[in-house]
């Protein structure tokens, strides 16, 4: 019987080509029409150390990393030792014949392949081992390798005959599999694609979204897992006169982004937790001086330096509440790779429309996973621009600064709280400031002005809270509501499907904008749910606490901090085991 999808793991030592083999397999499978979604763990070391590449492929869109491994390929003994526990009850293991012995329990569903030896014979070098692995997998799953071979040729075009040798290894792996391995595993063949598909990571999607939104100024400081945003933009932004600058630290990065935003540019920085902490003070400045800015935070496991290569959703509190005093900001969390693109544009739209800093919360698993998505139609993703003074100026030639040398009332108290922003280089000069100020930006410390300006700054976001995007699955009335944020959505939706199979009705609710929270809509949805579960990859249940306080809705927390994303089964099992019995019990 063919499975709708399968989860493959390659496990070995860093330096053996585990990750590159996985990457190339994923691209090849993608070109062969399969949908894919990957997850990987890196070693702590720069070279050496265990690493693992996981990819789930299938005939339909893949939403999460997979509940267990269907096929584990062990490059060495450590690969088996570290990963065999993830193998499902029917899962298969292929072990390197030279270096890996599986335990008895897998005796009847494991096979040995002499990867390096096949590579040496076919391609002339034991270094083709990972290609033999890829070929083996393709052979076993009966995946056409035409596209894969083209890809390999293109990738090694400038490396002499490495490409040819790799293809030889790939084919030899495939031949061996077809000849010597039983065809125990089958995956549904994909149908023809209705829309063009692309395979990219969350960070790449954020880059694409920011370019679509009109980004022209980027500044950032390297940090895992956000560095590739800087790297990608450094290669592209200068093309049309934009700049991407590696600054001396994250404080300089955000300070300069605000300087750029003040001049009218769409500006962005990207970082991870430690950098976000360092930006706290300037986030407050942006909120107070009303300067648009987009700050990407690709979360990794904290606290402090924590586990820099592992995923976690633990910066939400810092994003929503970080910075002294009370400065408005918007926090947006994408849920999938294509959503990263959309949310990036929405982040710029919110920043521009409301003249606020916007924090885009991705996480390591989302930022670095490859996912097949339908190519977004960019013309459908609307881009908004800020209200400038030039937009509203009457054009009668009168100086916006009034007579003499008075400053333009840049912080005018308007109905919506949004005031037209003069752009340096055009008339309307004023001083942008983080000191409490009157409409003209002059320092002022009266209680009345402070109240009026806080009202202005905060009420701007009311419209956003009312109109922000939300994705909902399931019925309006259900036994269990799964309310979450960010990259857990796919697993939550699949969990609801698993529950449905067991006769439990479940619905999911994922708001994109977490601050300001769409309180009314959450409350309304919550009314239809018998119990609400909030799954989060963090320790304290940060979102659950926000829902409790802002929506005054009781929720059950489901937390794990393994450094890995949730599987659908984890969520479904938690619900069947804990929730139906006692609504108040939490993991």
């Amino acid at each position: 019987m063919a499975l709708p999808d399968i989860t493959l793991q390659l496990a070995g030592e860093s330096g053996e080509g585990v990750i590159s083999g996985g990457d190339i397999f994923t691209s090849g499978a993608g070109r062969a029409g399969y949908w894919a979604l990957t997850f990987r763990t890196y070693p702590a070391e720069i070279k050496g150390g265990p690493c693992m590449f996981q990819v789930r492929i299938g005939a339909n869109r893949i939403k999460s990393i997979g509940n267990h491994t269907d096929l584990l390929v062990c490059f060495n003994q450590e690969g088996f030792d570290l990963q065999h526990e993830t193998v499902g009850p029917e899962g298969i293991i292929i072990a390197d014949a030279e270096s890996c012995k599986v335990t008895d329990e897998f005796a009847d569903r494991s096979f040995e392949v002499p990867f390096s030896q096949i590579a040496e014979e076919a391609g002339g070098s034991r270094r083709g081992k990972n290609m033999v692995v890829v070929g083996t997998v393709c052979g076993l799953l009966d995946i056409d390798t035409t596209a894969l071979e083209q890809l390999i040729l293109a990738r090694y075009a400038h490396k002499g005959d490495v490409g040819e040798a790799n293809i030889a290894s790939l084919r030899a792996g495939g031949d061996n599999a077809r000849q010597n391995l039983p065809s125990v595993l089958n995956v549904d063949k994909p149908g023809p694609a209705e829309r063009e598909r692309i395979l990219l990571s969350g960070n790449q999607a954020i880059v694409a979204g920011s370019l679509h939104a009109g980004l022209s100024y980027y500044a950032g400081y390297p940090i895992t897992p956000a560095s590739d945003i800087l790297e990608s933009l450094a290669a592209r932004l200068p093309r049309h006169g934009g700049v991407a600058i590696q600054t001396e630290d994250e404080i300089a990065a955000l300070a300069s982004v605000l300087g750029a935003g003040y001049t009218g540019a769409k500006a962005m920085t990207a970082t991870s937790g430690p950098g976000l902490s360092l930006m706290s003070e300037l986030i407050g400045l942006a909120g107070t001086a009303e300067i648009p800015a987009v700050i990407v935070d690709s979360m990794r496991a904290g606290p402090s330096t924590g586990m820099p290569t592992k995923t976690e959703q633990s910066d939400l509190n810092q994003a929503v509440y970080g910075s002294h005093g009370e400065a408005p900001r918007v926090v947006i969390a994408p849920t999938t790779v294509d959503d990263c693109l959309t949310c990036a544009v929405e982040a710029f739209n919110a920043a521009e429309t409301y003249q606020v800093p916007v924090i885009l919360l991705s996480d390591q698993s989302l930022s670095h996973r490859l996912e097949t998505v339908e190519r977004p139609d960019l013309s459908e993703i609307e881009v908004e621009d800020r209200l400038t003074l030039a937009d509203v100026a009457s054009g009668n030639g009168a100086s916006p600064n009034g007579d003499g040398n008075s400053a333009y009332p840049r912080y005018k108290l308007t109905e919506s709280g949004i005031s037209p922003m003069p752009i340096p280089g055009t008339p309307g000069s004023y001083v942008s400031t983080g000191i409490e100020h009157d409409e003209q930006g002059h320092p002022s410390y009266t209680g009345e002005i402070h109240q009026a300006m806080q009202d202005k700054r905060w009420k701007k976001l009311d419209a956003l809270a009312a109109g922000s995007r939300v994705t909902v699955t399931g019925a309006e009335k259900a036994q269990v509501g799964i309310l979450g944020w960010g990259s857990t959505e796919g697993a939550a939706i699949e969990a609801a499907e698993l529950l449905a199979a067991e006769g439990v009705t479940a619905a999911t609710f994922y708001p994109r904008v977490l601050c300001p929270l769409p309180v009314d809509r959450i409350k309304k949805w919550a009314e239809g749910m018998d119990v609400i579960v909030v799954p989060e990859v963090n320790y304290t249940g940060q979102f659950a606490r926000m829902v409790r306080s802002d929506c005054e809705v009781p929720v059950v927390q489901l937390n794990q901090i393994s450094g890995r994303p949730f599987t659908a089964k984890q969520i479904a099992d938690f619900i069947t085991e804990n929730v139906k019995t006692a609504a108040g019990a939490a993991a």
Binding site: S27, R197, A255, S256, G259, P424, T433
Partner: protein, 285 residues
């Protein structure tokens, strides 16, 4: 030096009355700035003054031009963002010795290394004025203050030496009470293509009244000094700190120039071009 005098110095004076104490040196720096702007005929709508926090940080409010009053210590990276996002703007960063060399000190060498085309004027009063008189990194050794009641245990940072070591493109010292010369330094700094640093002695009459000492002590670099000689400039910086003038000049491509040069090399950069790169090319399968 340009001769295009199109605006009266008073045209740059804003409606906001400076909140500085009587005799504060910052008045002199402000006046010199007005005169330099006037001589250059700067367009207030195309000029941005960026500052951090401190008495001196209030400077932008008193000038008719665009202004940006950032948080403490972040004038330089802010100014970089302003300039690099819109190279047509004339960008001046101003601030105090604490703002620039204590909390903001980490940004200084990088602004110099990058050669951002801005002018940075530090109103150096060797004290924290706004917070009522604690020592700053430029305060003298043994100086008494509320935070150093028995005398400062730290030695002063030599701002000229620091700027020369960082290879700032233009390095000069002026004084608020030497109006004409300070005007000329600011003017020369703005005219210099690259990162120009001017340390302007600017006495704090309330908490560290060095007015008389400085008025008595300042002298000028002698004619023989060659500002293109970095080692010599450093040696001069180690001499009497009360020496005014242009210590060092090193013109070279600015940050804007360098990014301009990258335009051709850079990869296709529209979102669509980017997505093309991730396309699966399904027709080939």
């Amino acid at each position: 030096m340009t001769e295009t005098i199109v605006r009266d110095p008073k045209a740059y004076k804003s409606d906001l009355k400076p909140i500085w104490c009587p005799g504060c040196g910052d008045f002199g720096v402000l006046a010199a700035t007005f005169r330099a702007f006037s001589e250059l005929g700067l367009d207030p709508d195309k000029t941005v003054i960026v500052s951090g926090i401190g008495c001196s940080g209030r400077f932008p409010g008193f000038v008719t031009s665009y202004g940006y009053h950032s948080v403490h210590g972040r004038a330089l990276p802010t100014a970089m963002g302003v300039k690099m996002a819109n190279p047509d703007l004339e960008v001046i960063a101003v601030g105090g010795d604490g703002d620039g060399f204590a909390i903001g000190g980490g940004h200084f060498p990088h602004a110099a290394r990058r050669n951002i085309d801005i002018t940075y004027v530090v109103m150096n009063n060797e004290i924290y004025g706004l917070t009522k008189g604690q020592v700053s990194p430029t305060s003298q050794h043994d100086q008494k203050s509320p935070s150093s009641p028995f005398g400062n245990t730290e030695s002063p940072l030599n701002t000229m030496a620091t700027a020369i070591a960082a290879d700032a493109s233009f390095v000069a010292r002026g004084a608020s009470f030497r109006a004409k010369e300070l005007t000329e330094l600011i003017l020369a700094g703005i005219n210099n293509k690259g990162f120009s640093f001017i340390d302007a002695y600017s006495p704090c009459t309330s908490f560290n009244n060095t007015t008389q000492i400085w008025k008595d002590g300042v002298r000028y670099l002698d004619e023989s000094h060659d500002p293109s000689d970095r080692a010599a400039a450093f040696a001069r910086a180690l001499d009497d700190p009360m020496t005014l003038g242009v210590y060092y000049k090193h013109e070279r491509p600015t940050m804007v120039d360098q990014f301009e040069a990258l335009k051709k090399a850079a990869k296709p950069s529209t979102a669509d071009e980017l997505l093309d790169g991730y396309a699966l090319g399904l027709t080939a399968a």
